[in-house]
Symmetry: C2
Subunit: 96 residues, 2 copies
């Protein structure tokens, strides 16, 4: 049973270049155990009303996800790089 | 380069049992080419304010996703099984 975490962001300013966010998240995740796959980046503007950025992480289990969620560098990225630009956020987690 | 599609639903009635939606989506996807992975189901209620249901599909490329998106059975499931229960929807797609 894997654990899939999905979060999407709408930025206050749609033109915000979130490449640095994607890179910071990817390098933070590289140092965390239990991550089966991790994809993040800007939306491709294909679907009307789509969000601006998405993260999809698949973890070995819930505990591996919690380790990621509470990781200090991950929390720093949220606080310093995401939240200041954030208009809205949608999140869900699945056991799969 | 894969193509990741993510969509989340909030149901009008939080207690709506979406297991039939998950099963219908899974069987529709089984008959579609270019699907690398496909996970869908109810949220586990771990994060405050989380959505109720999520779908994460990874496709060979954008065209494979469009084939899935426009697939008649997929469209039927949206129209008959999802939309009648839908309060809100968040969507994003990534090229990864």
């Amino acid at each position: 049973m894997s654990f899939t975490h999905v979060v999407m962001f709408k930025w206050k300013d749609e033109s915000f270049d979130a490449q640095a966010v994607a890179e910071a998240l990817q390098s933070a995740v590289a140092a965390i155990d239990g991550v089966q796959s991790y994809v993040c980046g800007p939306d491709v503007n294909l679907s009307p009303g789509s969000f601006d950025f998405a993260v999809v992480g698949t973890f070995d289990d819930r505990d591996s996800f919690l380790t990621y969620r509470d990781n200090p560098e991950h929390q720093r990225i949220i606080k310093e790089m995401i939240n200041p630009h954030l208009e809205s956020r949608s999140v869900a987690q699945l056991e799969s």
